[in-house]
């Protein structure tokens, strides 16, 4: 997987490149907007991490030029501008995700991986499956071990998002943005209760839990490890 990091702050760029390298990605770096656009135009990247405020060419302008050239490489916008409207504007300008500086690297990685998966799994699926949990996007039903599970519409979307990102960490902020379309973090831990309710429904009466809390990061829905005895 090859990533492009367009970031003018050298230290941030190095930090990003180092972290992403350690996570198994090949990283190219660009220090300003024009260079970033030039590299991105090749279309050789699986995802772009794009700073919003760049010398020579603004990040949103780079994005606009890329999209105009029909290059749809998923882009994650980084910005020091954190107001709700700024985030929405970044997304409207063609960004696939938006992260406010300073950010936790784990958050960036989780979002980037979600973007990469989204790019890979474009094929229309009607059913999502993780271990014995099954979600039918057409009938809007959830079953586990063939037992139907009643979920509320919002819980359905929450589960859908978790299942689409199965095996990967999903942060609370990501859930707020993608399931509720809220681009800010409420002070109350609203997400935790929603997740624990969902967990009640899908995990309670089953011996192998699927929905895990990842401390300091978020949640992860994953199939149980195969038994070690085998």
């Amino acid at each position: 997987m090859k990533l492009l990091v367009v970031e003018d702050d050298r230290e941030t760029a190095l930090y990003l490149a180092k972290g992403l390298n350690e996570s198994g990605y090949t990283v190219d770096r660009a220090g300003d907007g024009r260079e970033g656009l030039f590299l991105a135009m090749s279309g050789n990247y699986d995802a772009i991490v794009l700073d919003r405020m760049l010398p020579t060419m603004d990040g949103l302008a780079v994005l606009g030029a890329l999209r105009a050239a029909a290059i749809s490489t998923p882009a994650l916008i980084l910005s020091a501008l954190g107001s709700v409207d700024d985030r929405v504007k970044g997304l409207r300008a063609g960004g696939d995700d938006y992260l406010v500086k300073p950010f936790a690297f784990s958050e960036l990685l989780a979002r980037l991986e979600a973007l990469l998966r989204r790019g890979a799994a474009t094929a229309a699926t009607t059913k999502l499956r993780v271990a014995d949990l099954e979600l039918d996007l057409l009938t809007r039903t959830v079953r586990r071990r063939d037992k139907p599970i009643e979920v509320l519409p919002r819980e359905f979307r929450l589960l859908e998002y978790l299942m689409r990102n199965a095996g990967h960490v999903v942060t609370r902020t990501m859930l707020l943005e993608h399931v509720w379309d809220y681009h800010f973090d409420p002070q109350t831990n609203v997400i935790d209760v929603h997740v624990s309710r969902l967990r009640q429904k899908i995990d309670k009466s089953f011996d192998s839990p699927l929905l895990h809390t990842v401390r300091g990061a978020g949640y992860c829905l994953r199939a149980p490890e195969p038994p070690a005895s085998r």
Partner: protein, 479 residues
């Protein structure tokens, strides 16, 4: 040499005239002075014009009168001469010259030898040529036992046989009148010009003084005395309007400066504490046991602390950005009912878990113009507060349309906010004492207010008996 150049000019003998000249030069440069000078010039020209006109008119009138009288007299004498010849003329002249008729008419008929035959003048006046025509001459008139020369105007005629006739009129009265008029007008003109000069100077000084007041005030304000204001003359003229506008502008600046200073102080104070805490944690981690077991935990909590700090900064920046009004975001029609429903749905589980009952009473289709995201954030802040400060009970979210306004209301059963505190809770970092121990940065309501104002709305805190009722009202869009 340089030292000589730099030496200050000697004071005393020098300073005073320099100041005077400086002042004069400065005065000449002022707009007020130029205005006054122009005013004076126009005034002087028009006053002189009027006075000259008056003078010429009156002088002309007197002259015409004299000439008319002379003409009548000459016509009369000519008739007599035509009818009765020379002797008749001498007779009528003698008759008219007899006694003082007080009309100032002068007559003289002389014979071929130049001696007088009749008339009230003793002899042909000296220097008057012996030919026919209009003329001016001087005559000796008897005024109260005294003989004095009087100017006269008249005409002389040659009568066949070398006789001559002189008809004239004493114009000393007319001349005196004309002189009197001239003097009077001259004085009047001088007085008028003096008044004009004084008026112009006063006007320019007044103008200058009021401009000077504005200048002095702005200088004092620039020097840091922000509460200084331009004095008003109470005449509500243009200058007063200018001063009032300037004062309003200064009020605004002062308010902004004060707010900024307060925010800076608050930031310094409220951010210093967590920073100090952060530092202590990191220091403790450094001192930690050799196994390093506590270090991960310390670093984690330091990161949490840093995150909280950053969240506070972000909230501050968002509020500042909203309040500055510098950015105009594209706004859309937002369904408040939908915003409330979505927030209620998000908060319902957590409310229930904490022992609250979250009730939604949303009139459908209440729409306003604005940003759904900002409005959601404001509502979320209100719900956060209700969950934080109330101790269970019902939280009601209400959306309704009232008198063309769209209202969004959050009411809880908590301790409420005392009436005296209802205004200050909107200020940044204000956290009422009893709630200091609860987590939060004291920016929630500031953001709510900033968002509401951005949407041209109002925030009102009221008593929910018991509890707090926060009501946001916005201009509603047509249903």
């Amino acid at each position: 040499m340089i030292a000589e150049k730099l030496a200050p000019p000697t004071l005393g003998a020098w300073a005073a005239p320099q100041r005077v000249f400086g002042n004069a030069r400065r005065l000449v440069r002022t707009h007020a002075f130029r205005l006054a000078a122009l005013y004076f010039l126009v005034f002087a020209v028009s006053v002189s014009g009027v006075l000259l006109f008056v003078y010429w008119t009156s002088a002309d009138f007197v002259e015409r009168q004299t000439e008319a009288t002379l003409d009548a007299e000459i016509t009369g004498l000519a008739e007599q001469y035509a009818q009765r010849g020379l002797s008749g003329l001498v007779q009528i002249v003698a008759a008219r010259s007899a006694g003082d008729r007080g009309d100032g008419m002068l007559y003289l008929v002389t014979g071929p030898d130049g001696g007088p035959l009749a008339g009230n003048i003793a002899a042909w006046p000296a220097g008057v040529p012996a030919r026919a025509g209009r003329l001016f001459f001087t005559t000796a008139a008897r005024v109260k036992e005294r003989i004095e020369p009087h100017p006269a105007q008249g005409a002389s005629f040659i009568i066949p046989g070398n006789y001559r006739l002189l008809v004239g009129r004493d114009i000393s009265d007319a001349t005196a009148f004309r002189n009197r008029v001239r003097t009077t007008l001259l004085w009047a003109g001088l007085v008028a010009l003096g008044v004009g000069l004084l008026g112009g100077t006063a006007m320019s000084r007044n103008l200058l003084r009021r401009v000077e007041q504005v200048n002095r005030t702005s200088e004092r304000v620039m020097a840091g005395n922000l509460s200084d204001r331009v004095p008003l003359a109470g005449t509500s003229d243009e200058f007063d309007q200018l001063a009032a506008n300037l004062n309003r502008m200064l009020d605004q600046i002062e308010r902004l400066m004060t707010a900024m200073r307060e925010v800076t102080d608050d930031v310094a104070h409220d951010l210093k504490t967590p920073l100090a805490r952060l530092r202590v944690r990191l220091e403790l981690a450094l001192l930690g046991g050799p196994d390093g077991s506590g270090q991960t935990e310390a670093i984690r909590s330091a990161i949490d602390e840093a995150d909280r700090l950053l969240a506070t900064f972000n909230a501050l920046l968002s509020i500042a950005e909203l309040e500055s009004g510098a950015r105009r975001d594209e706004s859309e029609a937002v369904d408040l009912s939908e915003v409330a429903r979505s927030a209620a749905e998000l908060y319902e589980p957590v409310a229930e878990e904490k022992g609250f009952a979250l009730a939604l009473a949303a009139e459908p289709g209440v729409r306003i113009r604005g940003s759904r995201h900002l409005l959601s954030q404001a509502l979320a802040n209100l719900l956060d507060n209700a969950l934080k400060y109330a101790d269970g009970g019902e939280i009601q979210v209400r959306v309704e349309r009232a008198e063309g306004r769209a209202a969004l209301e959050v009411a809880d059963r908590g301790p409420g906010i005392a009436e005296a505190d209802r205004e200050i809770v909107f200020d940044r970092f204000v956290r009422l004492e009893r709630s200091r121990s609860t987590p939060g940065n004291g920016l929630g309501l500031s953001l709510v207010r900033a968002v509401t104002r951005r949407h041209r709305g109002t925030v009102e805190l009221a008593d929910n008996r018991p509890g707090l009722r926060v009501r946001l009202e916005f201009p509603a869009l047509a249903a």
